[in-house]
Chain length 639, copies 2
């Protein structure tokens, strides 16, 4: 094997220090500035102090609607003996009008009576009253703001007022991003063959650059060819302040980033002791930083956050925003490798008085995790993980407001949950997070008080009833509410036209049929087991019984993509994917709610959403749902 599979395992802080010190030695952090029109300066930082070009006001101005007078001419005025001024002794002025030098006070219009063409005043004016002096706001040459000031609406207004039209600001660093990979395509298309991947990492990193005040410059996709990648680097180098090469950062057959950096500049670090993100590269070409990020999106953003963000902030003179953190209790045990700094995406929610952190899937290829994540848990490399219930500090990437108003729904997944999530967020401002842990997983989470509610469909083999016996057996809460969401049809999802002529559960023992099962604890798997038991079929006879997917749609997608031939799933999943469906059973899918864990308004909103006409209408449109009982409380438990 002609591969160099060994890369370093440089500790995180050491890698960052080496990188920053190297860039400092290159003079890379030295300020670069550019002059811009003030209207383009919003959100930028001044590189020089800004001085007023003109006083404001630049003349003696009336601060009121009224009449300009000579104060001395009013000194004898009182209510008994008013002073009467003739029109040539006064000047009618509105707010902002010029007060010529012969006047030294303004009397408010409310305090003036006009009697027979004379201006009657009953109170002496104090010299300079209601007159704005030259430069009251800003004097010509006053420093309006010092260097490094973030420019917002008020700074803009001050510049304009002081006749400043152009200013010097810190230049935005240009970040060149080069996506590499022969397997990459710019966008998806019908019948995209297996092995092709839509390039999205460069788009994500470009958007992060924008958030951080840098200008992204995306190169088009370059195939895995060392010369072509080297050529792309040469193309962007002159324009860029920072070069990012996406993927190719490991040490595989077609990973060229390290050797290109070595050829063209300095390779500082190859391989960092983080998880994810290990196969990353830090280097420089022509005194400019180069970062090689791994191909997996979760790894790519982590490396970019850890290494690009701090140097961009430093170069742009921005305050590194202090991270919002929150103290949580860890919902699940979390093993970690000692020797690596691990960064785990988590959901965070408040259940009663406690904030719980729910670790998300650690797959580095799962973009959707980044969308779901509320924050990150950093396990330092000295630690070997955390037990369930451990206190932990989460660095949030969402506002605490959102976290505070989050409902947790861990259990079996159904399209009903997505509809509820959508309605709750749109109409009630409540965020609901849901992870598919199966019905039994939901029962466990409910019993531990780790979820506000759970979707469940658990058949009691003995009674033929759904859910209630499980709640009775496993839950010990003061109050339990079981609300029906829908009755749904379960059946075998098979390919369009049913080419293998599958007619029922018994067919699953045919060896040529590749079955796709659901994960342990899923209600649908329990349903299969029940059906096998009824028909006295041995599960070991089923080809694929051990092959697990985590949702109805995932089962249907696998069949559609010929990764299997049949799977037990809901009707709607077949309908959505345009597959055939052989009905097997109808089951009750309920939402079990623990009312004591919700605020009364949240409970109210949840029930209102479930009982809305829109919920029923959207469910109906999927097909295979029966909504006669939907919204009804089918059981109420109190202890």
């Amino acid at each position: 094997m002609n591969r160099n599979v060994y890369i370093e395992n440089k500790p995180l802080e050491e890698a960052l220090a080496l990188f920053v010190d190297h860039l400092a030695a290159c003079g890379w952090f030295e300020v670069q500035e550019e002059e811009v029109d003030i209207y383009e300066s919003l959100g930028r930082r001044t590189s020089q102090p800004v001085f007023a070009h003109r006083s404001h006001p630049h003349y003696m101005a009336s601060a009121m609607d009224g009449i300009a007078v000579q104060a001395a001419s009013t000194f004898s005025a009182n209510e008994v003996h008013p002073v009467n001024l003739s029109p040539d002794q006064v000047l009618m002025v509105d707010t902002g009008d010029y007060v010529p030098p012969q006047f030294d006070a303004v009397v408010m219009i409310e305090d003036v009576n006009i009697v027979h063409g004379q201006y009657q005043i009953i109170r002496a004016a104090v010299p300079w009253q209601h007159i704005r002096s030259v430069g009251e706001d800003m004097v010509e040459q006053d420093m309006i703001v010092p260097s490094r000031t973030l420019i917002g609406p008020y700074e803009l207004a001050s510049f304009k007022t002081a006749s400043v039209e152009r200013i010097s600001v810190l230049k935005k660093p240009v970040v060149a991003i080069i996506p590499t990979g022969t397997e990459l395509v710019e966008r998806g298309y019908a019948d995209m063959p297996p092995g092709q991947i839509i390039e999205s990492n460069s788009r994500m990193l470009a958007a992060l650059c924008q958030e951080w005040g840098a200008t992204p410059l995306r190169h088009e996709i370059v195939i895995d060819d060392k010369d072509l990648i080297r050529q792309a680097v040469a193309e962007v180098e002159a324009m860029a302040d920072l070069i990012v090469i996406c993927s190719g950062s490991s040490a595989g057959r077609e990973d060229y980033t390290a050797s290109i950096v070595q050829d063209l500049g300095t390779l500082i670090v190859h391989g960092i002791a983080t998880r994810p993100g290990k196969p990353a590269i830090l280097g420089s070409i022509n005194r400019k930083p180069v970062i090689g990020v791994p191909g997996y999106p979760v790894s790519a953003q982590l490396i970019f956050n850890l290494f690009a963000r701090p140097i961009i902030f430093q170069k742009t003179g921005s305050d590194f925003p202090s991270p919002q953190t929150i103290e949580c209790s860890l919902a699940r045990k979390l093993p970690s490798h000692a020797g690596v700094d691990e960064f785990i995406n988590v959901n965070v929610a408040r259940i009663s008085e406690q904030f719980l952190a729910y670790p998300l899937n650690r797959g580095a290829g799962v973009t959707s995790i980044l969308v779901k994540a509320d924050g990150v848990l950093h396990i330092p490399r000295g630690d070997e993980g955390l037990d369930a219930g451990s206190p932990c500090r989460i660095t949030l990437n969402r506002s605490r407001q959102v976290i505070e108003n989050t409902l947790v729904c861990l259990g079996s997944h159904d399209l009903a949950i997505d509809v509820l999530i959508d309605i709750l967020q749109r109409d009630f401002g409540i965020r609901m997070i849901s992870t598919n842990v199966g019905s039994m997983g939901g029962i466990v989470s409910l019993s531990r008080g780790e979820t506000h509610c759970a979707g469940i469909h658990l058949l009691d083999y003995e009674s033929g009833e759904y859910n209630i016996s499980y709640l009775n057996k496993y839950l010990n809460h003061e109050q339990i509410l079981l609300v029906n969401l829908a009755q749904r049809e379960q059946g075998l999802v098979v390919k369009k036209g049913n080419p293998l002529q599958i007619s029922g559960i018994r067919d699953l023992i045919r060896p040529e049929i590749r079955y796709i099962n659901r994960q342990k604890g899923a209600g649908t798997r329990l349903l299969l087991d029940y059906l096998l038991l009824q028909q006295d079929i041995d599960r070991n006879q089923i080809n694929g019984y051990s092959r697990e997917e985590y949702s109805h749609l995932a089962v249907a997608a696998a069949i559609k993509n010929d990764a299997g031939d049949a799977g037990l799933a809901i009707h709607a999943s077949a309908a959505i994917m345009d597959l055939d469906f052989i009905p097997v059973d109808r089951e009750r899918y309920d939402l079990c709610i623990l009312p004591n864990l919700l605020r009364p308004q949240q409970l109210d909103s949840l029930l209102t959403a479930i009982r809305s006409a829109e919920f029923k209408r959207r469910m109906q449109s999927f097909g295979g749902y029966h909504l006669e009982q939907s919204g009804q409380i089918v059981w109420e438990g109190t202890k």
Copy 2:
């Protein structure tokens, strides 16, 4: 007088409720959506849930670099009896490569030995290991995000990955802004006559709209002509969701907004019990809100923040960010009118363990106050103000980080302070705020522990010495450090060419000479008094002795703009304004520092900045400064 000077005094919450209820009844808050390209969706909110168009991965993909195998073919492998697979039993795969249906596991390349063309494996592969199933990340038709989701880099990447190219987002409301006023000009120019004002409010409000996620649409300036303003409103109405008319909102001779709103639609409120901001207008035209904001910038932004911001946030479905607040002690007594909700801009800084709030100038025409303000103190209309030392809660508009790292410098102003502010912010990340309260004001602030340092130049009439006797007399701190910043030339600033032939202090008694004095407590005023005393001149003989300005530059600006003929000020102010200067005295300008109130690093940074070559160079360039002693500790007091 043909004016209607009476407008309402509607309580704030009542005005807002009337406005919002009216708009709700008009259906104005109903969602409007538009479809955009995903690359244009950053920072927007979804109006519909977004579903995946394609599974990711859309094929069975290798999760590792390695070889694809049939797991069953490896079951007997162990270290003693490795399994040898022939090339036709395996497929070499890189991460992300397609794993065809004949394989059901991937063995990592690190665990494979190639021996004589055979692939040697020493551990059994578990079925489906290192294989990413179809839709592991997202399954076709999965809901990626629900309605009302803020789109960031990770959402963008997920859309791209799932072949979503366009999405529906909430439409940005269009805010038409019409600046009105015959006195307004689009930009300043040389010899701009008195009475003309540079229009900047519309620019400020437009920038606020951008911050709040709305699209500003600025009309050009319209003169105070009812028909023309009405025509401008008609022009923008069809394009706008919200119409803002700047100034003309009061009830003066040329205030037309109220009657235009009444003619074209509904006038809801005219006059709101806030300070500033009272003469404001809320109404609607064609079921769209109209806001008439006062002409003064501080009033304009307050009314816009109070009424435009909440309706824009509500219409765009954004969470109203919970304001960052901080508990402070009020540095100065603050009277307030009962009956109005008062909003006072303040600086905030930490002195030792306490946060202090420093009320800023309450002039509504002072744009620079908005730049200086760190936050706002709201005094509800039931209250009659607050005593010095009162606890108060400030709503911050700057990060707590900046507040925490702020040095306060209350005292006499000199250009040296601006230079220090600039160097400290740029090179040390320390913000220094400075308010010119004069040297005696500085002494008072120091004695109360309300400032970290103060610029002072106080002549002791008896000893002829500067500053030290005052510190001895008034301060009682454990440690006091007096550092010289510069010696500076004080003198009479007069018009270019000295047309009145002023040669010294004695000339100031000539009645045709309009003197401009400094405020009480200013060191320069004390210097004048000392000089008058020495020369036995009666201050009442000086025309303008009671006319006060608050800085050297303000004195010079007044003279330059013919608002006066002479004033005592530093040489640099005359040099900057290109005026003549008659030297009178040289004085020592020192910075008095209370080391115990600073963190050691702050003290160190401050002294380093003062002693830098750049500080001396910049001071030298102003003219009239002598820097031999600059940076030296001229006195150290301990008690």
